[in-house]
């Protein structure tokens, strides 16, 4: 098990944070499409969720509308939904990611760890590269705006 975990570290990205909100509210904004579309972002994007069945094998289709009018399809399905504990979903559009979101109540606050496991290190590298290129374009556009 330990071994398997260390094998994954070169193809996963993980972020965690303690949120100043009780777990029932945090769970609600993660599992209700009416909420999730409001914060999912990224900055300057709007989101349309056509379906979000938060249950094992449930489908989740989210389209992100970029500020330049480009639409980005995100198709996923849920693998595990354990209330107030864990959500695992598989992103089947590119890039293929298995995302695990762990929730933990800490008094009136909630700790979340969000881990994205990529199919392979190669795919993670592709995504990081593309993201870097996109950021470069974005920064150039921001410069032009000034």
């Amino acid at each position: 098990m330990q071994n398997q975990k260390s094998n994954n570290t070169d193809r996963e990205i993980s972020v965690s944070r303690l949120f100043n909100a009780p777990i029932d509210l945090v769970w609600e904004v993660w599992t209700n499409p009416e909420h999730i579309k409001n914060w999912w972002g990224p900055n300057g994007f709007t989101n349309t969720i056509s379906i979000m069945e938060v249950k094992p094998e449930g489908i989740w289709n989210l389209v992100m509308h970029g500020p330049d009018g480009t639409d980005y399809d995100n198709k996923s399905f849920f693998k595990e939904v354990t209330k107030h504990k864990r959500i695992i979903y598989e992103h089947i559009s590119w890039p293929r990611i298995i995302a695990t979101i762990e929730f933990e109540a800490r008094g009136n606050k909630t700790f979340i760890q969000w881990t994205m496991l990529f199919d392979s290190k190669e795919e993670l590298i592709e995504v990081v590269k593309k993201h870097h290129a996109d950021e470069g374009i974005k920064q150039n556009i921001e410069k032009l705006d000034v």
Binding site: N20, L25, W39, P42, N43, I125, E126, H131, H132, E135
Partner: protein, 114 residues
């Protein structure tokens, strides 16, 4: 015109990643490096060539031996790109944080009205 090879292309190959891992812990010559792999010395030599072209490895000639050394600052550049990508998810957390604050303020406001 010099075409610079892509650092990410270099580390996309598992053997080259293994070479870098070995060189980060210890600078060594081609022969001792090749002993760690099941592929031919020529194959390792080719990987080293690609790695030097990307600036991930430098070769120092010492007498008859050629020592391969990992260039940590180039590797640092790669780590910076990964951090930049991680920032994308951190910004989702920022947005979630703001949204949760907004909802809770609204709730409090509604309560104090009652």
């Amino acid at each position: 015109m010099e075409t610079r090879r892509d650092v990410f292309q270099a580390i996309a190959d598992p053997t080259r990643r293994a070479i870098i891992d070995l060189l980060v812990t210890k600078t060594q010559n081609l022969n001792s490096l090749a002993e760690n792999f099941h592929v031919s010395r020529q194959a390792i030599s080719l990987h080293i060539k690609i790695l030097t072209e990307c600036g991930l490895v430098v070769i120092n000639q010492q007498g008859r031996e050629r020592y391969c050394e990992a260039k940590l600052d180039t590797l640092q550049e790669v780590a910076t790109w990964v951090d930049q990508y991680k920032q994308f998810y951190e910004s989702k957390f920022d947005s979630l944080e703001k949204y949760l604050d907004k909802l809770q303020k609204k709730k409090k406001h509604a309560k104090s009205k009652k």
